[in-house]
């Protein structure tokens, strides 16, 4: 191979790989990400059944119920709207009624119940998922003395 051909082979191979990587990333963005909603957004969101989303808000007071075995139901609220959630498994240590929560999962066909496979709770007393805090503020919900939370 001449110098020029060597250089072309290396550059060509590199460019091909990078283009493939970019396409892969774009494909993954269309497939493997979850949008974040609070209950008030869902009415106008028109989600197809089975779409993975993150649902954030506060665990409604008095809504936590243990069903048979390990299945737990509770409601996520932005204080205006509420969504019933079921989850099977162990809740995080910091899961409590009246506190911030993010549930990841999807709505099944035609059901208003959100089936979560992952539940994240806030990490300490001054922490609320930033997504939740922002959205709740945007919805005009007062967060009491917790305005400085991140």
């Amino acid at each position: 191979m001449t110098r020029k051909q060597k250089r072309l082979a290396i550059i060509g191979g590199g460019v091909t790989f990078i283009v493939a990587a970019v396409l892969l990333v774009m494909f993954a963005f269309s497939q493997a990400i979850a949008y974040f909603y609070v209950p008030g957004d869902l009415a106008k969101a028109h989600l197809a059944p089975g779409t993975r989303i993150r649902l954030g808000g506060l665990v409604e007071n008095g809504s936590l119920k243990r069903g048979d075995g390990m299945t737990i139901t509770f409601s996520v609220t932005d204080t205006l709207d509420r969504v019933p959630v079921t989850y099977t498994g162990i809740l995080p240590d910091l899961f409590r009624e009246g506190q911030g929560v993010v549930a990841e999962g999807s709505f099944r066909d035609g059901s208003p119940v959100f089936v979560a496979d992952t539940v994240l709770a806030k990490h300490d007393e001054t922490y609320m998922p930033k997504d939740v805090a922002d959205r709740l503020k945007a919805q005009g919900v007062s967060l009491g003395g917790k305005e400085n939370i991140q």
Binding site: G13, A32, I90
Partner: protein, 661 residues
């Protein structure tokens, strides 16, 4: 009074680093030896001052001086001594001080061991290091001062975040910072080379030990953090693709690329400009990581309560250093002579392949980490980019690299013979296939990707050993000769083999755990049993206890195999009284490289308790592989060529009397 001394020492450190940031560089420009020498002295002095400052903060934490706001917020008189120590860096202010401490530590190391460097290079390197130190000292003093006092000293502290009260946290941040910040030296070397406009193979040889040291520490830090998350958070996960994990993983990928490209530059004088760019980018990624973690723009476990001024300040530092470095690069890179050419199939070609994939993978992880921020800023919609995205992109991109790993060291420089290497790797491929089929039989099938992954790991391990086998000439010569040849090999050959073997081991661990782990969530009453991973667990009952600053409820489980009790395990839920915060202390039992992981859930009204049990096959391979990689780094670092070989020291000893200009 002592507290104020610490504060004062930090202010002084800022002053000294400002001197160090200007004088040696001017000295290098004018060839003024006295000015250049100031850099050496100032670097040691800055380190001493920051160390005093850090020592004072440690003293305040250990003596529980709650008149210091930082201590009051993050400590408690009742916590064990070790957590009083680790509490020093278990918070934003203290961890930034640790950051600067480690930065100045590296500057001092350059000052101490840099005698064999050309004077101007050393002066410029120390100057650039001082710019970074000054910027971050200023950041601490203006926005995150750990020495702020409270007017009325409270009687008791607010306690350290309970999940941070763990031995893992005592070790994880310092190791991580040693890696993260260690890359600053490579960055400074790159900037110094650009300032001087001179770059040769010797430069690569001087940078390599620093890269190796930083890379080894970063590997240790990431592995430690992963293991800590695994056993402390109680979720059984070992990697979450959390933005903060990514923030440390991106510099690791870039640093790994740098390690390999510096090799090409050292041996073949090629890839010069690229290596300089990589050195800049690696530390830039560390800075970006610091920004992401410390500014609180990302939601994460690691985002301590933050305020926007800090974010803006770090963003300014980020723009100043990354923007400045890249502009300098743009102006000066053309002046650096490009290196020689090589055939695409050659050792150089393989290392370019490595760099291409590692940097693309790093860019992918970076994109996934920043995309939610960008999208929110542009369209306002909030998304989460989680494990599915990273597994799909990162996993696929890395695959060709993993296949190529054993090829690299076997290819010749300049012009390699792919077919010949393929033939020599025949045994390794066969071993991979045998291991893959063995797993197929042991598991009665199993996902094809998992079998392939494990076979790939085995092939990488065998392929790395192939190089040692071939170089020793075993089979062609007698055992004694082979052994002598082996011991005569440069240490870096063993380092390479160890690190590549480690990568294979980690891969096997990741694949095995992902594909074959089992999870059981059961409600158990005392006396009930459940099966997991071929073992039977019997729940014996709950017991209440008290620790120094928490109360706990522990469940006792007896583990038996084929009816014979083989082990037992305690799994607890703790309640930390000061912060009124519960944590899960998982019960973990190790069998070979596999583990049983038992996590307690909520108690039921009827006296039962929800228990989550995982069988984690070969999970210890994940971190065991990291140990091999670290060993590889350490062995390479001890290679003689890195310690001597640089320009002779004798030159420096001659008294040179030159009139200062």
């Amino acid at each position: 009074m002592i507290i104020e001394l610490g504060h004062y020492a930090l202010v002084l450190a800022l002053g000294v680093s400002l001197l160090q940031a200007v004088l040696p560089i001017i000295g290098a420009l004018r060839g003024d030896r006295a000015l250049m020498e100031i850099g050496t002295v100032a670097a040691k002095a800055t380190f001493l001052l920051v160390a005093i400052s850090f020592g004072v903060l440690t003293y305040a934490h250990v003596t529980s001086d709650f008149s210091v706001q930082n201590v009051w917020e993050n400590s408690h008189s009742q916590i064990p001594l070790i957590y009083k120590f680790s509490g020093v860096w278990g918070n934003h202010e203290g961890s930034m001080l640790l950051w600067v401490l480690i930065l100045t530590f590296f500057s001092a190391l350059v000052a101490l061991f840099g005698d064999n460097l050309p004077e101007t290079l050393k002066a410029n390197v120390l100057g650039v290091q001082a710019w970074i130190a000054a910027a971050f000292s200023l950041f601490i003093l203006l926005t995150s001062n750990p020495f702020n006092r409270l007017l009325d000293a409270p009687g008791e502290g607010q306690d350290l975040n309970p999940v941070l009260q763990d031995i893992g946290l005592a070790i994880h941040p310092p190791l991580l910072y040693l890696g993260y910040v260690g890359f600053s030296v490579c960055f400074s070397f790159a900037i110094a080379a650009l300032i001087e406009g001179r770059l040769d193979a010797a430069w690569a040889r001087w940078v390599r030990p620093w890269t190796l040291a930083a890379w080894t520490c970063l590997t240790a830090g990431i592995a430690m953090g992963s293991y800590w998350a695994y056993y402390e958070l109680g979720w059984g996960g070992w990697w979450f693709w959390d933005p903060v994990e990514n923030a440390s993983f991106i510099p690791w990928l870039a640093g790994t690329a740098l390690l390999h490209s510096a090799l090409v530059m050292e041996k073949r004088e090629a890839l010069k400009i690229w290596t300089v760019l990589l050195a800049i980018m690696t530390f830039s990624m560390s800075l970006l990581g610091t920004f992401l973690v410390r500014s609180g723009v990302l939601t994460s476990v690691h985002a301590f309560a933050t305020d926007p001024t800090r974010g803006v300040f770090i963003l300014m530092i980020l723009i100043l250093f990354i923007g400045g470095a890249l502009s300098l690069f743009a102006f000066r890179a053309a002046r650096l002579k490009a290196g020689g050419l090589f055939a695409p199939i050659s050792r150089e070609g393989a290392l370019v392949f490595n760099n291409l994939i590692l940097t693309t993978a790093a860019a992918t992880v970076l994109t996934g980490t920043l995309y939610p921020l960008a999208l929110e800023a542009v369209t306002g919609s909030k998304i989460s980019v989680g494990p599915p995205f990273f597994n799909m992109t990162f996993g696929l991109l890395m695959l060709p690299l993993l296949l190529a790993v054993p090829f690299g060291p076997l290819l010749a420089w300049k012009r390699g013979d792919l077919l010949g290497v393929g033939q020599r790797l025949f045994a390794a491929v066969a071993i991979g296939l045998v291991v893959g089929s063995a797993v197929y039989y042991a598991q009665n099938g199993g996902p094809i990707m998992a079998l392939f992954g494990i076979a790939l790991g085995a092939y990488m391990i065998a392929g790395s050993l192939t190089e040692l086998y071939l170089r020793s000439g075993l089979g062609k010569v007698t055992g004694a000769v082979a052994l002598r040849r082996l011991s005569g090999l440069p240490r870096s050959v063993f380092g390479t083999a160890l690190a590549h073997i480690g990568l294979g081991i980690t891969l096997i661990g990741i694949v095995a755990v992902t594909a074959f782990e089992t999870e059981h969530i059961v409600e158990m009453k005392p006396g009930m049993t459940t099966d997991a991973g071929g073992y039977t667990l019997r729940f014996d009952g709950l017991r209440n206890g008290n620790g120094p600053n928490y109360s706990e409820e522990s469940g006792h489980f007896t583990i038996s195999r084929a009816g014979v009790a083989v082990a037992d395990v305690w799994s607890s839920k703790r309640f930390y009284t000061a912060r009124r915060m519960p944590t899960t202390e998982a019960g973990i039992r190790t069998f070979g490289t596999s583990q049983l992981y038992v996590s307690l859930g909520d108690g039921m009204a009827d006296g039962g308790v929800v228990v989550r049990i995982w069988w984690k096959p070969m999970i210890l391979c994940i971190w065991g592989g990291a140990l091999f990689m670290m060993a590889g780094g350490a062995v390479s670092l001890s290679d003689r060529r890195l310690r001597i070989g640089a320009p002779a020291r004798a030159k420096k000893k001659k008294p040179v009397l030159e009139p200062a200009e």
